[in-house]
Amino acid sequence: MSSSAAAHPAHENQLSFVRQYIFSLDHKVIGKQYLFLGMFMALAGGLLAYLLRWQLAWPESAVPGMSWIPEPTMFQGIIPPEFYNAIVTMHGTIMVFFVAMPILLGAFGNFLVPLMVGAPDMAFPRLNMMSFWTIFTAAMIMLASFFVPGGAASAGWTGYPPLSADAVYTGVNWGITLWILGLALEFASFLMGGINFLTTVVSMRAPGLKMMRLPLMVWMQIVAAVIFMLSVGPLIAGAVLLLLDRTVGTSFYAVQKGGDPLLWQHLFWFFGHPEVYVVLLPGIGAVLEVLPVFSRKPIFGYKAIVYSTIAAGFLSFIVWAHHMFVSGMDFDLVMPFSITTILISVPFTIILLAMIATLWKGAIRLATPMLFALGTLMVFIVGGLTGIFLGSASADIYLHDTYFVVAHFHYTLISAVFFGGFTAMYYWFPKMFGRLMNETWGKIHFALTLVCFNLVFIPLFKAGLGGEMRRLYNPFEYDFLKPHQGLHQFATIAAILLMIAQLPFLVNFFWSMFKGKVADRNPWQANTLEWAAPSPPPHGNFDTAPSVYHGPYVYSAPERKEDWQPQHQPH
């Protein structure tokens, strides 16, 4: 094994540029491809966020800097109602499916899972490469849909029929067909990814790496993969029916011809709720890796966290109808789904308590990854607590489809994707690129992000409690919502500042990639296997195939001189 490892550098030079960086089979290169795709799509999703925030603060006025967008999409920078619908639809679609999933699962899952289990690569490298190029195609289709006649999909990111089933309601025909096609390819991509993740973890762990010695990031990735694989089938079925309604002229969802529009909502949310955990769990996983390292303490309640995650994954399949309390579904379903929804806060409370207990009396180092991990915790707690109101049907009937919901799910998703994603980015950057990021700029980025993020969404809680429905093109056409304009202007200014606050990150990211301080193998003095490989790891990962002798979180053991104990070092 070691002789072939020694041959790495020579061999790598033999690969052509195309095979090394474009059609690469190396899980680390594929992970980076996912990362750059996700970051690029985040720019698109962010631009859409800018447009919709502007419309909500100063409706029907020219958006600064946007007069170049041609008619009929926009009129000298003014957003027409049809395009506003497309903006909110595509913002949600892009951020969930083309930013959150590629970055948290595609990038970090791909990069970390083989390294953390001590494997040379994924189980199926070719399938892995195909999964990236499939989602790349899907992303291009999504972006292209802005340029077809009628514009991009505008039926909401949830694609409810009849809006999504018939162009008479939205004026969008091609856009929605492309939207369905793009999502179908995205699902196919993550199916390939999920098969790879699960097979790799089941079959390629290093000797001694029992399941209960896996780093929690790996647990989160595989539970997320299982949840995704089991929930996406019914949505694909629902999408097939929707496509048939649109193209063949069937009436699965057309109520006037005996169809049932609620059927789509059931199939969509059977996937949609677990999907929240698909992107949430890897973010939590990153936090769980960072907390022990930067408080120099073993994780508190490893098994409790694992079992809670599995329990939450299971419960996520029986809560979906909490999205449908006001949809007119059978009222007898409301109580059971309220109960399961509130029940799901139990495993997450256990995980949060374990996180806080891990910090308790630790020797805390407030490096940037740790700051973002703590930020994830804080933001997620707000998201979780506000979710309890929405899970209880009596409160939800009032709050449903208001800005309270918008604020709530941005607190849960942004905590996981944004804060969790940055936790992972700052923590594993030295392993990915072999250089350290700048700490000062990292801390500035963190402080600005945390403050601006809260300033965007706290006003939206208030707008929602004041009864403001979301998805209104110009809310202030209604007299009772006119007093909310100030809240929206405040949120919009904060959102613009939040976007500006990402510039320090971008500069730091690209500067450090080429000019940062060179990182050694284990800059954070962490235990998990990825830190045993060189930074960045060569094709094939490890110099010698590692064996594992104990769990991943042995920190500050009293009998040892160092306060850490790498997994691959015997006692």
Binding site: P120, P207, L230, G233, P234, V248, G258, A545
Partner: protein, 215 residues
């Protein structure tokens, strides 16, 4: 040739999923699994496939429960008896597939190819009968758009038909490879993958037949 390092490294642990390597520390537990890696990947994929059919079936049941008369009075009835015979054909192909793999396991090349050929013929007969029956139903006025009865029928049974078609195509590849004597007693992974997929499409059919034809 094109072999990259990771593939070479992977090849070392391929075949059976065993990471048993020489170790200094004898007490070290190792990860051992007796199933093939590709098979594991296929089984995970089939889990998603099963959920896809579960989604279609639940759509069928919801639409059926939501309509006053099922099947609608003006729509033709499904060919229950012919399809019952066709069900037997498909189940028989499951048995012949079993015999083919048994042939490979015992090193009997002619048993392998003969039973594989018979399996392919049975699968094709199933598809052919389904096609003829579809033609008749269409001529009687049961179409995709004539009613939700027709729409769910063609979607659900059509989705299964496409899976059988895919299985027959895979089987043809495996059959050609069997003729080239590529499957030995020890190494017939591709054959086993084809077998498992075949069992899947055979196995879900009786469920669909019961739900769609017998209700």
């Amino acid at each position: 040739m094109e072999n990259t390092i990771s593939e070479k490294l992977l090849a070392k642990s391929n075949g059976t999923l065993s990471h048993a390597r020489p170790q200094k520390n004898g007490s070290l537990p190792t990860v051992e699994l007796s199933i093939n890696r590709s098979l594991l990947g296929l089984l995970i994929f089939l889990g998603t496939e099963a959920m896809f059919f579960a989604g279609l079936i639940s759509a069928f049941l919801i639409l059926k429960a939501g309509s006053a008369v099922w099947p609608p009075v003006d729509q033709p009835r499904l060919p229950v008896a012919v399809t019952a015979l066709n069900t037997l054909v498909l189940l028989a192909s499951g048995y012949t597939m079993h015999r083919a793999v048994r042939g490979a396991r015992s090193g009997n090349q002619s048993a392998l190819t003969n039973w594989l050929a018979l399996t392919g013929v049975l699968g094709t007969i199933f598809l052919g009968v389904q096609g003829v029956e579809w033609g008749r139903l269409l001529s009687y006025g049961l179409t995709f758009t004539s009613s939700n009865y027709g729409a769910t029928f063609y979607t659900l049974i059509g989705a299964h038909g496409l899976h059988v078609l895919a299985a027959v195509l895979v089987l043809m590849v495996v059959f050609i490879r069997a003729l080239q004597k590529r499957y030995s007693v020890k190494n017939h992974d591709g054959l086993v993958l084809c077998q498992i997929y075949w069992y899947f499409v055979v196995g879900i059919w009786p469920v669909l037949y019961g739900l769609v034809y017998l209700s």
